[in-house]
C-alpha cells in the first residue's frame, strides 16, 4: 500500500495550504503529508486568532482546519475562508457528526487519517468550491 497513488495528489500539486491545528506533533504530520502530496507551501497556525491574522495578510489555495482548537471552534476561520472562496476541509476527532450543521456537507477527515484520506477530502473540497465559484 502506498500513499502517493491517489487521484487527489495531482490536484494539490503546487498549492499553498493553511493548516490550523493546536497539537504541534499532529500539525507536523499533516504538514509532511501535504508536502508528500506535492503542495508547494504549508502555512501553520495553532489558534483562531493566529489563523485570522494570517488570512488578513494572504490567501491560501486550500486549508485544513482542526475543529476544536484548545476549546475554541474553528468556525470563524471557516467563515473567513468561505467568504474568500478558499476550499477547506475539517479535521476532527468527533467525526462528521461533530461538525455544526451550518457546515454540514463540507468535507471532513476523521482523526487519525492516512495521507490518501486527506488527499481525497481536499480534492472534493476543491471540486465543491470550484463548482460554487462557477455558480456565483
Amino acid at each position: 500500500m502506498t500513499h502517493r497513488d491517489t487521484a487527489g495528489s495531482g490536484a494539490l500539486h503546487g498549492l499553498s495550504v493553511l493548516v490550523v491545528e493546536d497539537e504541534t506533533i499532529v500539525s507536523l504530520l499533516v504538514e509532511s503529508m501535504l508536502m508528500d502530496l506535492g503542495c508547494k507551501d504549508v502555512w501553520y497556525a495553532s489558534s483562531v486568532e493566529e489563523a485570522l491574522h494570517m488570512l488578513a495578510q494572504r490567501t491560501p489555495d486550500a486549508a485544513v482546519l482542526d475543529v476544536n482548537l484548545a476549546g475554541e471552534t474553528a468556525y470563524p476561520i471557516a467563515r473567513q475562508l468561505a467568504a474568500a472562496e478558499v476550499p477547506f476541509v475539517f479535521a476532527t476527532g468527533y467525526g462528521a457528526g461533530g461538525i455544526h450543521q451550518d457546515w454540514a456537507g463540507r468535507p471532513v477527515v476523521q482523526k487519525p487519517f492516512r495521507c490518501d484520506m486527506l488527499a481525497s477530502a481536499l480534492a472534493s473540497a476543491l471540486e465543491v468550491e470550484g463548482a460554487a465559484g462557477i455558480n456565483r
Partner: protein
C-alpha cells in the same frame, strides 16, 4: 299522605279555622303512628295539630293555637349553614305567604336540651273548596344518618384528594369522554398553567409533542388512546410544552377506571417528569463524544510521533504503512463502539470496517455473510484487530493482492441460549500460490493469542495452496 290529608280536609270542612282542625282531627290516629313528623298550621301560622314524632324531634310540646308559637313548634331553628332561622322566616311561614309548596328544604332544629337534629322538610299548602288558602301541612324527618353518611363520604373524598395532592407526581382524571375532572398541583406545575375543568380535554398539558419533536394532537395522546381503546397505555413517552415555551419530557401512565358493574367511568393519568433522566443521558452522550475526541486526538498524536520517528531513519515505507493501518483499524473500531454507546458492535460492520481499505471499489471480489451477531465492546475491539491483520495479510500476500483473487467470509451462530458459539470462516482464493510462512509474524501471533486467550475460542489457519483459510470458534456471551 299529604295529598290524602289535603283532600280529606278539603272535602270535609266548609269553614276556615275550625274546619281545618276538624279535618286534621280525623287523621289523628294515623299521624300518631307515622315514623315521620307531621304538623298543621292554620292560615295565620298557629299550630293546629302535631304528631308524636314531631314532638320527639322538637324535644318539646308546643301549645296548640298559641299566638306565641307560630309557624314551628321547635325551640330554635337554624339553616343548613348553621345561621339562625327566625320562626317568621321558616319554610312554613313562606308557604303560608306564597301558597306554594316547599320541597326537601333542609333545616336544623335545636331542642331545649341543646341537642341539634338536621331535618328534611316538605310543606304543602291546604286550600278550601273555594280555593282559598286555609293553612299548610309540614312533614319533616330526621336526616342525621344521611348527613353522617354524607359527611363521611366527603371526608373520604377529601382524604383521597389530599392523598393525590400530596403525591409529587402529576395526576389528573377525566370522564369517559376525556373531559378533565380533577388534577393535582403537580399536574398544574408540569402543565405550566391551571387546567380548566369542564373545557379542557384529554391532557392537562398545553401542547404535546412526540419525543422526536413532531406535534402530537391531544386527541391522539396516550390518555386518549387509553380512553378510546379501554386499555392502560404503558411505555409511551411525550414532551409537554408550557405556555412559556419551556418543554418537559415525560412518561404518561394512563389507566381506565371502571365502576362495580364494569362500565368505564373515566381514566386516571400520572405524568412522570423525566427531564433529569434526559439531561443525564445527553450529558453522557456529551462525555462519550468528548472521550472519543480525546482518544482520536491521542491516536493522531501517536501516528504523528511514529511517522516522524520512522521518517528518514531507514525504516521501510511498508513498515510505516503497516503501522499506520493498524492504528487506523483500532481507531475505526473505536468509532463503531462510540456509535452504539459502547454497548455492542455488529460483526458484519466490524468486518466491513476492517476490509474498507482494501475493497477499492473493485466490487464483488469480497463476499460477506449477513447473520446479525452482536459482540460486547471488548470482544469487538479484539476481533477487529484480528480481522485487520487477516485483511492486511490478504492484501500483502493473499488473494486480495491478486486482481482476480476473492475473499469469502461466512459465519453462523450455533448452540442454545446458554452456550452459543460463533463459527467463523475466512476463505481466500484466486491469489498467488500460498506457502506456509517460515516464521510466525506479529499478525498471526496477535490473531492466535486474541482468539484463544482473550476470546477463549479456537483458531485454525490452513495455508492451502489455493488460498488461505482461517476458521474461528468463539463462545458468545448469553446476552448477545
Amino acid at each position: 299522605m299529604q295529598r290524602l290529608a289535603n283532600r280529606g280536609q278539603a272535602q270535609a270542612v266548609p269553614t276556615k279555622a275550625g274546619a281545618v282542625r276538624q279535618a286534621a282531627g280525623r287523621w289523628d290516629e294515623i299521624y300518631e303512628h307515622m315514623p315521620i313528623a307531621v304538623y298543621v298550621c292554620d292560615r295565620d301560622g298557629l299550630i293546629v295539630q302535631y304528631n308524636r314524632r314531631a314532638e320527639e324531634l322538637w324535644g318539646r310540646t308546643p301549645k296548640i293555637d298559641d299566638s306565641e308559637e307560630r309557624f314551628c313548634g321547635s325551640h330554635r331553628l337554624f339553616r343548613a349553614d348553621n345561621t339562625v332561622l327566625p320562626h317568621a322566616r321558616t319554610p312554613m311561614a313562606q308557604v303560608l305567604q306564597t301558597g306554594e309548596p316547599v320541597r326537601d328544604a333542609e333545616v336544623i332544629v335545636e331542642r331545649p336540651d341543646g341537642s341539634r337534629v338536621p331535618l328534611l322538610v316538605n310543606i304543602d299548602p291546604l286550600f278550601s273548596d273555594e280555593g282559598d288558602l286555609i293553612g299548610a301541612v309540614n312533614c319533616f324527618q330526621d336526616i342525621s344518618r344521611l348527613k353522617q353518611a354524607e359527611s363521611h363520604l366527603q371526608e373520604r373524598e377529601r382524604w383521597y384528594r389530599d392523598l393525590l395532592e400530596a403525591l409529587p407526581a402529576a395526576i389528573y382524571t377525566t370522564d369517559p369522554k376525556g373531559n378533565i375532572t380533577f388534577f393535582n398541583q403537580a399536574a398544574a406545575e408540569l402543565a405550566g398553567s391551571t387546567p380548566e375543568l369542564g373545557s379542557d380535554t384529554w391532557c392537562v398539558t398545553w401542547r404535546l409533542f412526540e419525543p422526536d419533536g413532531t406535534v402530537m394532537p391531544h386527541d391522539e395522546c396516550p390518555m386518549a388512546v387509553a380512553l378510546k381503546e379501554g386499555r392502560p397505555v404503558r411505555g409511551a413517552e411525550a414532551v409537554a410544552e408550557r405556555p412559556d415555551g419551556t418543554r418537559v419530557p415525560f412518561i404518561p401512565y394512563p389507566t381506565p377506571l371502571y365502576d362495580a358493574s364494569g362500565t368505564m367511568v373515566g381514566a386516571v393519568n400520572m405524568l412522570v417528569d423525566i427531564s433529569e433522566r434526559k439531561e443525564a443521558e445527553s450529558r453522557q452522550i456529551g462525555l462519550m463524544n468528548e472521550l472519543n475526541h480525546r482518544v482520536k486526538n491521542t491516536l493522531a498524536t501517536v501516528q504523528a510521533l511514529a511517522n516522524q520517528t520512522m521518517r528518514g531513519s531507514g525504516v521501510s515505507e511498508e513498515v510505516r504503512a503497516a503501522f499506520e493501518a493498524r492504528l487506523l483499524a483500532l481507531s475505526r473500531t473505536h468509532d463503531q463502539l462510540t456509535r452504539t454507546g459502547w454497548k455492542a458492535a455488529d460483526l458484519a460492520s466490524i468486518l466491513k470496517c476492517a476490509l474498507a481499505p482494501y475493497e477499492n471499489g473493485s466490487g464483488g471480489r469480497i463476499k460477506l455473510g449477513e447473520a446479525p451477531v452482536r459482540l460486547p465492546p471488548q470482544a469487538a475491539l479484539t476481533l477487529a484487530m484480528v480481522l485487520h491483520e487477516l485483511a492486511a495479510n490478504a492484501a500483502r500476500h493473499g488473494s486480495l493482492a491478486a486482481p482476480d483473487g476473492t475473499l469469502d467470509v461466512t459465519w453462523q451462530v450455533l448452540g442454545e441460549n446458554g452456550a452459543r458459539r460463533l463459527r467463523f470462516e475466512w476463505q481466500e482464493s484466486g491469489g498467488p500460490p500460498v506457502e506456509a510462512p517460515k516464521h510466525t509474524g506479529f499478525g498471526m501471533r496477535l490473531a492466535e493469542r486474541s482468539v484463544t486467550r482473550a476470546l477463549r475460542g479456537s483458531l485454525g489457519i490452513a495455508f492451502d495452496p489455493g488460498g488461505l483459510r482461517c476458521t474461528m470458534d468463539i463462545p458468545l456471551p448469553v446476552s448477545t
